[in-house]
Amino acid sequence: MEITIENLERYYGDRRVLYIEKMEIEKGKITAITGPNGCGKTTLLNIIAGLDREFSGVIKYDGKYLNRETVDKMTIVFQKPYLFRRTVFENIEYPLRIRGINKVNRKPLVVDLAKGLEIENLMGKKAHLLSGGESQKVALARALVFKPELLLLDEPTSNIDPDAINTLEREILKFNKETECTVLIVTHNMEQAKRLGNRIIELSYN
């Protein structure tokens, strides 16, 4: 999915927290957005995800404004994921279930992702009792399971152990390659931006 942004402004009261005159996110590529704390990275991501509608300016997805169809084809992984109070398996299969995919077809998709992310041994565990790294893996699996065309990642690897970071990064790269999904990752870690990004955008204060 290709995204074009023009004259995007977001105010909190009188304070402008984000201004982007023009930005294009290329289809099928991984774009990393970096910048100092408070420069509006997360705000930008929330706006693109459709969670924050209080902005002015134009955002288009493949040339069209945000609509139901677009929402169904994209997703976001938060810095602190919220997992449902169910098993890991049920968490990951949720997007497939609400899309009406039947149980038999759901299972292989879930298992496949779980293997890649090395969490197949956690399938029966209650998701809200997992560690930080495990939670983030489950959140990523849940995001990828329905093969979105746009994946938004908001600091997905902060505060987790290096092994888990490696796994997560590997799977993100793999997914991008296999499905040509557009990926937009917000990170304050320049090294990570370089490891993952085909392109790096540095956001500054407004």
Partner: protein, 229 residues
């Protein structure tokens, strides 16, 4: 003072001997209040979640009205239902006044705002994050509401228990629309009220103890359930 201890003694006797009348009264109380709680929950929980997470103009005012409605007096509900159901009222032809159905209707209307308000407040404070996640995973309104109900089910269960406690312990509405007819519409609270005005304390005390016991059991179940999770 003698009649108090005497009353307690005879109350215990009534309970231990599983007195048929006590049993009938208690089971009718449970039947009526359970039905009312179930109906009210089926209607009010989804609506409460829906309005709790919805953003709309005048939501502050809406909240205030909702929280006021939660404490509507039971006699007022009873009165309104009695007027509507009486033979001269708009639903008079159904012959519903002084029946179990009328009691269930009145208690349903009594606890509906309570369940709605409690669920609404819960969804308003804790539903937001769940709604965001659901939205980004492609959930529609229906999926979102059912997801939030499942995620908050323990708190919702506590709310349902609160509503049941209100229903089973209220006397105003069931007295007015039920009429306290022996064997038909006589429940725990109306019996206690009647026994008191008759000066017959043992039965009143026995039923009072049962009422407290029911409350205790319900809340123990909820408590152990929330511990388990």
């Amino acid at each position: 003072m003698d009649y108090i201890t005497q009353g307690f003694k005879e109350a215990i006797k009534l309970l231990i001997s599983l007195d048929k009348e006590v049993f009938k009264i208690v089971s009718l109380s449970i039947l009526v209040s359970t039905s009312a709680t179930v109906f009210a929950s089926l209607i009010s929980i989804p609506l409460g979640v829906y309005f709790g997470i919805k953003r709309f103009k005048g939501k502050r005012m809406f909240s205030r009205i909702t929280y006021t409605m939660m404490s509507v007096p039971s006699v007022v509900v009873g009165l309104v239902v009695a007027i509507i159901l009486s033979r001269r009222g708009p639903f008079g032809q159904f012959d519903l006044l002084y029946t179990k159905k009328a009691m269930i209707i009145a208690q349903t209307l009594l606890v509906m705002p309570l369940v709605f308000g409690l669920t609404y407040g819960l969804a308003k404070s804790r539903g937001d994050i769940i709604e965001r996640v659901a939205f980004t995973l492609g959930a529609n309104k229906f999926h979102t509401v059912t997801l939030i109900i499942r995620e908050l089910k323990i708190d919702i269960l506590v709310n349902i228990a609160t509503a049941f406690s209100r229903a089973i312990s209220e006397v105003g509405a069931v007295m007015i629309v039920g009429g306290n007819i022996k064997g038909y519409t006589r429940v725990i609270t109306t019996t206690i009220s009647m026994m008191n005005s008759m000066g017959d304390y043992p039965m009143a005390i026995a039923l009072g103890l049962v009422l407290i016991l029911i409350s205790f059991v319900i809340h123990s179940i909820i408590y152990s359930y929330s511990q388990e999770d």
